[in-house]
């Protein structure tokens, strides 16, 4: 035989999914919600979204060059995805300087210094968001109202991924008068919102689009049901019990699930492969922890935003969760101790 043969290890066929395709698919699943925000907030939103994505990719290129890592990351979609996720947690109209700081924290400080793709212990987008919130609280809680205040799709002003701090937000009264009109998907009643702690109302359009994106990812088998279901179940547990015990004080489950970063967090942030557990039982624990912590922080913590902190806290315990939720290998009742005494 004249020409050379390729000799490589089995298997000699591979599945169709690639890491790059996965990341771009998640990116794609987020674009409807992103597009809705541009529709509602116009150029401000577009600037933040496009700017943050480009800045993240830019920092990834710089970091990889500086650390002598392969430059494949521009095309593999990981930096772009981080950028889009981060953008969706930011208020529209945020100055690009802050976006740049966020991109730097996300890509360089949370990811590159830990070893790059696959090595970061904490979710980069969430870490950047929390950093910005704590470092620059005022710009990060300035919530412009959407362009169509009078005639939004579902009868009330909508804002994306926001939790309103009662002091700086658009007036609660203004919102409540709008909310009086028929709301979609069972928002809590006017009385609850008036008296209760004021969470930001998420754009219903975006909420639905996020949900659709999440379901798309489930059907495409990019994410498994464990984390979103346990996350939302954990939230529902606390929200449901508190609402039952004191409906005047605490709003109900649908309100909590559709406001703030709950849907984005449950379907897109907490499910990030790198920072979530690898085994199904661990994923359930992780999601549940995120959901419970989100509600605890929302109801009794100092910040109106619970999702980001909850996910970061749970990221920290992922290694312990993984160690204790390993499946037992076939033919072993428990995993054998270190050293493997079996024949």
């Amino acid at each position: 035989m004249e020409q050379s043969l390729t000799v490589s290890s089995s298997p000699h066929i591979t599945g169709r999914e690639t890491s790059s395709r996965i990341m771009w698919t998640v990116f794609g699943a987020l674009t409807p919600a992103a597009a809705a925000s541009v529709y509602l907030f116009g150029v401000m939103a577009l600037n933040v979204i496009v700017g943050t994505i480009l800045l993240c990719v830019w920092f990834e290129v710089l970091a990889n060059l500086a650390l002598r890592r392969p430059l494949a990351t521009v095309t593999d979609g990981s930096a772009a995805l981080t950028g889009l996720l981060l953008a969706l947690t930011l208020p529209p109209g945020l100055s690009l300087w802050f976006c740049a700081v966020g991109a730097f924290v996300a890509i360089v400080m949370t990811k590159a210094v830990f070893g790059g793709l696959g090595q970061n212990p904490f979710n980069p987008a969430i870490t950047a968001r929390v950093f910005l919130l704590i470092a620059f609280p005022e710009p990060l809680t300035r919530w412009p109202v959407p362009l169509q205040t009078e005639e939004t799709l579902y009868g009330q002003p909508v804002a994306i991924q926001m939790e309103l701090d009662a002091i700086t937000a658009a007036t609660p009264l203004g919102l409540i008068s709008d909310l009086g009109a028929g709301t979609v998907n069972a928002l809590a009643s006017v009385a609850d919102i008036y008296i209760g702690r004021m969470n930001g109302s998420l754009g219903e359009t975006s909420g639905i689009l996020l949900l659709l994106g999440g379901v798309f990812l489930l059907l495409r088998r990019i994410i498994s049901w464990h984390i979103p279901v346990s996350f939302l179940a954990g939230m529902s547990l606390v929200a449901g019990i508190t609402h039952l015990l004191n409906p005047a004080e605490y709003v109900g489950i649908p309100f909590h699930l559709f406001t703030g970063g709950a849907l984005l967090g449950a379907f897109f942030m907490a499910t990030d492969y790198v920072t979530s557990p690898m085994f199904p039982r661990g994923k359930l624990l992780f999601g549940l922890g995120c959901g419970l912590l989100t509600m605890i922080i929302r109801l009794w913590g100092g910040y109106p935003e619970g999702v980001s902190f909850a996910i970061l806290l749970m990221n920290a315990v992922v290694p312990i969760i993984d160690t204790h939720t390993r499946p037992a290998p076939f033919g072993k009742s428990v995993t054998s101790p270190k050293g493997g005494a079996d024949a």
Binding site: M1, P11, S20, G118, P329, G331, T335
Partner: protein, 419 residues
Amino acid sequence: MAISPLPVPAQLIVPLAQHIGSPATPVVAAGDTVRMGQRIGEPSGFVSVPIHSPVSGTISGIEKRPGPLGSPITCVIIDNDDNDTPETLPPIPDPKAASAADIRSRIRDCGIAGLGGATFPTHIKLSPPANKPIDTVILNGAECEPCLTADHRMLLEHAAEIVSGLQIFLRVTGARCGIIGIEENKPDAIRLFEERCNKTDIRIVPLQVKYPQGGEKQLISAVLRRTVPSGGLPMDVGVVVQNVGTALAVHHAVVCGKPLYERVVTVTGSAVPNPGNFLVRIGTPVHLLLAHCGANGTDIRKLIIGGPMMGFAQYTDDIPVVRGTSGVLAVGAEESALCTTLPCIRCGRCVAVCPMRLVPSEIGVCCDRRLFDHSGTRDALDCMECGCCAFACPSRIPLVQKIRLVKSEVLAARRKERR
């Protein structure tokens, strides 16, 4: 593609090591004449079987030649005289009347080893220690590797002999229950066997089409719901598993007295214009198989012995067909392109698909960092190298290769410890 006999070549290259265990020692020398089926190698040790000449002719020499596992192996080179003068052992027409010990030695004398690919000496598999009684014999007709169809054709064309082989196994082990497992993608075979075994005690079990359904531990779990313990063997749960091809060979060995010197091989792949299943003499060079199927040497970029999931890629086509050769795959440039590897993104797909419920990505990381004594490698020896993890990995990490390395290091460390 029905089984057709492959034209026997002018020269056969017969390795002395075609089975697990110690290679056979040659009992012929250059210049000797041999008959088809005559012993040319004696078993050396307990875990060993004899080797037989696939043709009648003259011994050309005994020398090292490239082997299917990558390293050169000692082979007996035989020049064919085209007469096919046979030498058989006395037939045992009624195995039920013969003693189990006699049947076992016949199986050994005919050189039968597992034809599913593992090539474990069959007579040893049929001799479990007294404290491990066998109650079930399962014939493995799963053929879960994609592209291979040799077992399927054997099931369709030699059903009677396969059932006879199973009955021989039942006789030898004393098992009461005989089962033939066939994947559901072979409905014709399932129907044929269900009809044939209708009035008998033999149960036909259709199997879900799921790789690696043919792995014996998975097969036993699917058919009997018994779990073979880690580090253990099917006999630990009272079962013996044999490939349907082995059953066929055992029938010929016992009832016809014919030693194992030919087998059915699937030749296929994108670089093979006329794929098919062929009855091939052991020792036939693979390049002759490929030429017979119209494969042009220049189109072939990767040559695999076995199936696409667990087969061995070869660096030359100058290797012989041996007892364990179930398939020859020749593929072109597109299928043999190597992929760029990305870092592990902890997606968990490898964990989800692993039939032994291991954590391949963790073993891969231990390999990268040379942490062979790490707790992450503790279950590595359970890996059956099926390839599911690497198939599913979206970062295209060569997980099986890494796990193999870890396994060899762990075993080497253990051997050192024992000294």
